[in-house]
Amino acid sequence: MTAHGTDQNGLDALYQEIILDHYKHPHNAGLRDDFEAEVHHVNPTCGDEITLRVHLGEGEGDSRVVADVSYDSLGCSISQASASVLTDLLIGKSIAEAMTIHQEFQTLMQGRGQVDPDEEVLEDGIAFAGVAKFPARVKCALLSWMAWKDATAQALEEKS
């Protein structure tokens, strides 16, 4: 599974091919016009930034659909790939389902490498398992996820 032969101190566990692919070819990138909430999140220590918009479908509360997540981000491979994977995983899901995935991803990231990811739920997201062993990089992986949660909360408030 490692990308470069001998694993340099876990480096290949961090930089899985999947991550590098998403980094070089991010999915759903760019800001799109339909949205109910936009947030701007910064990682103060390193300066990584993301502007993220959430567009929800009609309906009530948790059952509304995540119709779109669009974003513009500046940052390292981990933070960029993570945003790309996020959109793959969440767009089209109900908010309830998306929150479950969010929780699963966060648990994985904060598990210090002790948590086994569920490929059924996280799909490409399981490639981030190695990131959990690098505490300084966990924030990179979570930046877009925190932004999405914040934006979704705002979008829901907007409605009510």
């Binding site: 910064v42 103060p44 220590t45 390193c46 690098f134 505490p135 300084a136 990089r137």
Partner: protein, 421 residues
């Protein structure tokens, strides 16, 4: 003697300085712990290990040393949070000492925000405060046009609460007081005062500099009405290093205060035209924090936790009781503050007729007994009792009863030296 730490000799062996001898080969009898406490080997070793093997700046560095240093520093915060039972670990702010912690609060209250203090507002403190809990409020009052008011003291050295309804009113914005007096030893009823202050919507600031070393503190377990909004203490009095202090504050209050010092990691983003700020605790930790000190403080409070704060408190009470008895046998000696050990901490200030405190301290020092003489940064409390200075002995978890005997004997010697009756 009832209440002493059972493993006292083991504990003493943890403190290398206690093996030191002074001029003339005399053993050290250290009775100045309210001024600063001695440090156990584990605190020193933890700091050395950090400096020799893990030193790096925190938060900002991605390399292995940086990750180790950050982890050690933040673990220090976790340990401090556990030590005081902080509801949330991010509510623990590292400052340089207790004085900075108190000034942080007084200073930020001058500026625009939910809790801003202005003309016509009142700040309440007490006559038994350390200067570090008086001067910041005087500066705040002077600079904002607010009025500083204070609780007076009873003759036996307690807060005079009789006028509390006149003192704490709708105009009161802040009530700041010490939990345990560093001069009189008095333990104040902070729960009762907090309850009252909260009914008028005032912020309650507690100076725990002398309480944290001696009393078990569990903020999360306090009823909210009785819980301080902010609480300060200092590292060097809880067997930790100098250069570090702690401000704990309820999240809502800390979130509402404007920034104190600017720079370093307290920002969210900086443009020349303006900046936004990070959340707590970083918002109040401008610049490179006291890293090795936070790590040392973590080891210190963990050490105290292992010994047990209940056990330390019992030990202090036993020693204090024993000292009060001994001091009562010295002719012409008057103790300032409450006379029963149960309602006081382990600092005892006293006068000796006919000898000035400096001279007492000097003669005691010639016998190896280290005490403090002067106003102990509590001039108003001294003025209240009509004295300009006093002599203070203060014990800690490593104090042995025979050190109290040495003190009493040295006081007798002082009387003879100055040819008193």
């Amino acid at each position: 003697m009832e209440g002493l730490l059972p493993e006292l000799e083991v504990i003493r062996a943890d403190f290398p300085i206690l093996e030191r001898t002074l001029a003339g080969g005399l053993p050290l009898v250290y009775l100045d712990s309210a001024n600063t406490s001695q440090k156990p080997q584990v605190v020193i070793d933890t700091m050395v290990d950090h400096l020799e093997r893990h030193n790096a700046n925190i938060a900002r560095a991605m390399h292995q040393l940086g990750a180790e240093s950050t982890e050690a520093f933040e673990t220090g915060r976790d340990k401090v949070a556990a030590f005081i039972g902080a509801p949330e670990r991010d509510e623990v702010i590292f400052t340089k000492n207790a004085s900075e912690a108190l000034n942080l609060v007084a200073n930020t209250l001058a500026w625009a925000g939910e809790h801003q203090v202005g003309a016509g507002d009142e700040i309440v403190t007490t006559e038994m405060e350390h200067h570090s809990n008086i001067v910041p409020w005087q500066l705040l009052a002077e600079r904002t046009g607010a009025t500083l008011r204070w609780f007076g003291l009873t003759d036996d050295g307690r807060l005079d609460l009789s006028g509390i309804d006149d003192l704490i009113t709708e105009r009161t914005k802040v009530v700041s007081l010490t939990w345990v007096s560093n001069m009189l030893g008095t333990i104040n009823p902070i729960a009762e005062i907090a309850r009252k202050a909260h009914t008028v919507g005032a912020l309650v600031v507690v100076d725990a500099s002398q309480a944290a070393p001696q009393l078990p503190i569990d903020l999360a377990a306090m009823p909210v009405e009785e819980r301080p909004d902010l609480l300060a203490f200092t590292g060097h009095k809880v067997v930790g290093p100098t250069g570090i202090g702690v401000l704990w504050g309820a999240r809502a209050v800390l979130d509402a205060l404007p920034p104190f010092l600017g720079g370093g990691e307290m920002i969210e983003t900086v443009r020349m035209e303006g900046s936004t700020y990070a959340g707590i605790p970083h918002k109040f930790e401008a610049g490179t924090p006291p890293i090795v000190e936070a790590i040392g403080l973590g080891a210190a409070v963990e050490y105290l936790g292992h010994v047990g704060m209940e056990a330390i408190h019992a030990h202090e009470q036993a020693i204090t009781g024993y000292a009060l008895e001994g001091l009562a046998t010295v002719p012409g000696l008057t103790v300032l503050g409450p006379l029963d050990a149960a309602s006081r901490g382990g600092a005892i200030s006293f006068e000796l007729d006919g000898v000035h405190p400096h001279d007492i301290a000097q003669v005691l020092d010639s016998r190896g007994v280290a005490v403090r003489a002067g106003h102990h940064c509590a001039k108003p409390a001294h003025a209240r009792f009509g004295v300009q200075a006093s002599t203070r002995m203060s014990s800690y978890l490593y104090t042995r009863p025979d050190e109290i005997d040495a003190l009493i004997e040295a006081l007798e010697y002082t009387r003879r030296y100055f040819k008193l009756g």
